[in-house]
Symmetry: C2
Subunit: 184 residues, 2 copies
DNA sequence: ACCTGAACACCGTTCAAGT
DNA sequence: ACCTGAACACCGTTCAAGT
């Protein structure tokens, strides 16, 4: 059977979700598709790029309509969407935040946060600082939470994972700092 | 020559700093010590543990005396120390933040932040939320900055790395949110 | 355009055996 | 106690050759 890039990406996400990031190897993925490892390199230049595409796809699948009008409500909306998108697949937070660190793809959420802050009347440098801080909070929280969840399901008793309430409270802390500097 | 665990850890940090995390393999480290790969397993149970010990050592080498009294000044002090400690070695931020995510070691800075917040008069749950948010900010910022620095030194032109000023401004945003909830 | 087969240059880890 | 030698079960990537 003949495949296209989308088939490879979709199957990669299936393998990720079912067996985890450490099992998502080029050889494993090839076997899953019933193909030689070298065949993958006709669809994707290398593993790093594949993971960046997977990250973008995970984010795309989590897209939701934006309803909020006020800049701070929009920030909350974008952050919650981003968090939920990452948590929807096993190791999704790890994959997306790593891809983001390497600067490949994932520009979407950053741009939407940037626009929200711009509409909040912040000077350009604070828009940048705020956007990055928000992303660090969302990524860090999601990775922690997903790690804790998997540790818990693997039998380690562990403390409570934090969850959406903790996430929102952390976000509110940062938003308070931002609000006190907003010009709108 | 016969080695002890400390020799292995010290050499691991040398390899890390000189060649980067991706070159810090058990086989490479063994070769650097003039020993068979299998010999390392007499000093360390596996690579993950070695990296956790390396992370702790990087943090320990960055320890500084705490001078500040006020809880928020102490938070700034601990975060700055943590950041500087990570940035002192190539890929240090990646190593430390990964080790922290897996819950191994690195409890030191978290505990010091926790104590500072406790002295700020925060309720227990806000102490937790605040500590985690602070760590996410510090780790995220440090990893970003180190990645950008290495990309820049590798020739990619890239935007400015952010640097200590951006870091302090992000920290101040979060601290403002915390201060507005402090009972002291 | 898409894939096979074979290879290259590696990994982490285990384990019997040596000193 | 610390190390060797050899093996096991893998990696990502390249490349000539096939259809």
């Amino acid at each position: 059977m003949r495949y296209h890039r989308n088939d490879v990406v979709n199957r990669a996400i299936e393998v990720l979700d079912e067996y985890g990031l450490e099992s998502l190897t080029m050889r494993r993925l090839a076997a899953e598709l019933g193909v030689q490892p070298s065949a993958l390199y006709h669809h994707v230049p290398n593993k790093q790029t594949l993971l960046a595409i997977v990250a973008d796809e995970i984010l795309a699948r989590g897209r939701r309509p934006q309803r909020a009008r006020a800049w701070d409500r929009r920030v909350v909306e974008v952050c919650a969407e981003l968090r939920d998108a990452m948590l929807a697949y096993r190791d999704g937070a790890e994959v997306v935040s790593t891809a983001y660190t390497f600067g490949l793809g994932a520009g979407g959420p950053a741009n939407r946060l940037r626009e929200a802050l711009r509409d909040g009347g912040f000077p350009d440098d604070l828009v940048d600082v705020g956007t990055r801080a928000l992303l660090h909070l969302v990524f860090g929280h999601a990775v922690d939470e997903q790690t804790a969840l998997q540790a818990a399901s693997a039998g380690a008793i562990d403390r409570a994972p934090g969850g959406p309430a903790d996430f929102e409270r952390a976000l509110e802390l940062l938003l308070d700092g931002l609000r006190s500097r907003s010009r709108v």
